[in-house]
Amino acid sequence: MRIDRRDFLKLAGIGSVVFASGLGRLGHVANTAFAAEDDFFFVQLSDTHWGFTGPAVNPDSAGTLKKAVAAVNNLRDQPDFIMFTGDLTHVTDDDKDRRTRLTGFREIIKDLKVKNLKFMPGEHDAGLDEGEAFKEFFGETHYTFDHKGVHFIVLDNVSDPTSTVGETQLEWLSADLKQRDKATPIVVFTHRPLFNLYPDWDWYTRDGDKAIELLMPYSNVTVFYGHIHQEHHHQTGNIGHHAAKGLMFPLPAPGSVPVKNPIPWDANQPYKGLGFRSVEAKVKEAQYAISEFSVKGDRL
């Protein structure tokens, strides 16, 4: 099916869109550089885990990412860019295999119509070699970019296996933020949650509180992340945190079972729990309307 961008914008008004950001509005801000910029949307794909095999969990492990690529290509309006929030590949202990998987991932996503692609690693991509292989394929693991008045910050909280952002990157973040007006719309991409979602399952960033502290003075900050393979929304102060579904296997809700294992494939509901999201940025209002899609592109 084709998805009309306007359709899911309409849905925002009747509550089918999962989340409309509670960020503060920018109406009170005079003379802002972004006031005249256009609204836009981007797509977030996460946790594609290319290279994973496990028929009980996903018998279509070789086809799921391809279906998602086709579904994104089938959107009537194409996003301004696509962000991959880590775990592009499934972990392998072999450096050569890691590169083979990164190559395989890159081969599949080259079919995306949109060529403005942004990447960041997950611990599966970068946790064993401090991001060395990832950088060979996709460049830096942390960076910023600006798009239509929104300042995007990509934070790496996986290349250090201790699940930290690290002092060096925190200093870099602090220096970057000091250049921003307090009301600048800021979107942060991370792989792991910055807040303590469920530390027993490694669903946290050990020094994430320091990053949040740096971001807290800014009134329009939203974080999009992956890692937990399910939709999740959380608020720390004025900062919204939104986890995306994965594209290989879903994981149970935080703390809902004693041991975290992938949720088995349901033959009656194939691809259940998998999907991607679009994020509509209403820059003037500093709001983000999120729509969730199944692997095949059906709006959920």
């Binding site: 202990d93 611990e123 064993l128 996986v158 296996p161 201790t162 699940s163 530390p199 027993d200 975290k260």
Partner: protein
Amino acid sequence: MKGLKSRLLIHGIMVAFITIVICGHLIAAENEQVIQITAKRFEYTPKEITLKKGVPVVLEFTSLDRLHGFDCPGLKLRLDIRPGKVNTLRFTPDKAGTFPFHCDNFCGSGHEGMRGTIIVTE
């Protein structure tokens, strides 16, 4: 003469203090249970550790390959296990029960399964 007495008194107090500290440590060390644990991808050996409530314990971790972690949320214990050294964790369990622990420094394909249990008996 008065100054000499003062110095002797101070000296005596210091000796007594040091003696108490050393004896205290020796008594504590005598009572401490020392458990050596190796960590390697993707297992702890032993992976089940039995302790007694109220008895001080020292966990001595050695990594046989790379950085691992030890996180036992139920007892509020965590430690980085770095290779090339003995990584020590000293505590006294204050409650009985079964407390799972796991590696919380990503270590590879079997990381999720690198787990163990501490059992604290009454």
